[in-house]
Symmetry: C2
Subunit: 185 residues, 2 copies
């Protein structure tokens, strides 16, 4: 399996399924022997953005840092997967502009669905006013207008969403699947 | 030319010649077709560490971030070259511990020599009290005890220092020089 470097940028509400799909895509690419780094939100907050909060300015800084690191990795042949909420369109587009190989994956699910999942209990805390500037509650999420992939996690399985992403990567020439045995997909 | 990923960590006083040697090493490795990223101090300050100052805590954070990014790159086959002063031994050793392939290059020159070079005029400003916590003046520089390479820029040419680094990379198996025509060295 050959792969070219690409920045695979997941965006979506908290609880939309970004990390779940990103992990599944990562798993398959690794099984195929691709070089992959997933810049998980928490890892990035710890290693690159400690001290930053969730104001618009701090969020933008956090996203720019993730974009900078993803760019360094992807221009060296790595599939750099990011899965931060990245709610603001302008910053996502800025990263797109500065990155040669940028593929945006909009992980779409209605707010009510994300809130009902509430895996980390964050929506409940945001509704209770314990967390401020929470995307979808008291901070906006600006939907992508031209994402290369849209995964509707309200109707698709994780498997279907991940395969959609991989198909787009293949159709754009970032990965070249050669004789992939079914069981590895 | 084959190369394995490695974090090539230059350390030394301001004006010791870190960036100059790092650029020469980068130039040669690129001419040989290696994947190289140089995490220049200024680029890093802009893209990863905006807002950080020069207190011990902020310096440590800056160095940890550089180490984190270098680790991501080097474990994916890239020669990640860093050239920050990185004055504190404990943090350099921390990065060494968390990085599989770490090669430390101590760029050594007496303080008087670095100060007389004063390319950026920083020593003058530090002596005048305009810059606080300046390494070598009112902040310590802790020499490496076990650097893989020591470049003495007071007695060696840039060329000699760079070749020393490349020879160590080769002897440690990080680069494999095959039929290198003299003029490319």
């Amino acid at each position: 399996m050959n792969s070219k470097g690409v920045t695979l940028w997941f965006t979506g509400l908290s609880g939309s399924g970004k990390t779940t799909i990103a992990k599944e895509v990562e798993r398959k690419l690794k099984a195929w022997g691709c070089k992959v780094e997933r810049l998980d939100g928490d890892i990035v907050r710890t290693n690159l953005s400690k001290g930053l909060g969730f104001s618009k300015e701090d969020r933008d800084t956090n996203i720019r840092r993730i974009g900078f690191v993803a760019k360094l990795l992807s221009r060296n042949g790595v599939v750099a997967i990011t899965a931060a909420i990245s709610p603001y369109r302008a910053i996502r587009d800025e990263i797109r502009q500065m990155t040669e190989n940028f593929v945006e994956v909009y992980v779409k699910a209605p707010l009510e669905v994300c809130e009902s999942r509430d895996v980390k209990g964050l929506y409940a805390r945001a509704r209770a006013g314990e967390i401020k500037n929470f995307t979808g509650i008291d901070d906006p999420y600006e939907e992508p207008l031209n994402a290369e992939v849209v995964c509707d996690t309200n109707t698709e399985s994780i498997e279907e969403s991940a395969d959609k992403v991989l198909e787009v990567l293949a159709s754009l020439g970032y990965i070249q699947v050669q004789e992939v045995p079914n069981h590895t997909i």
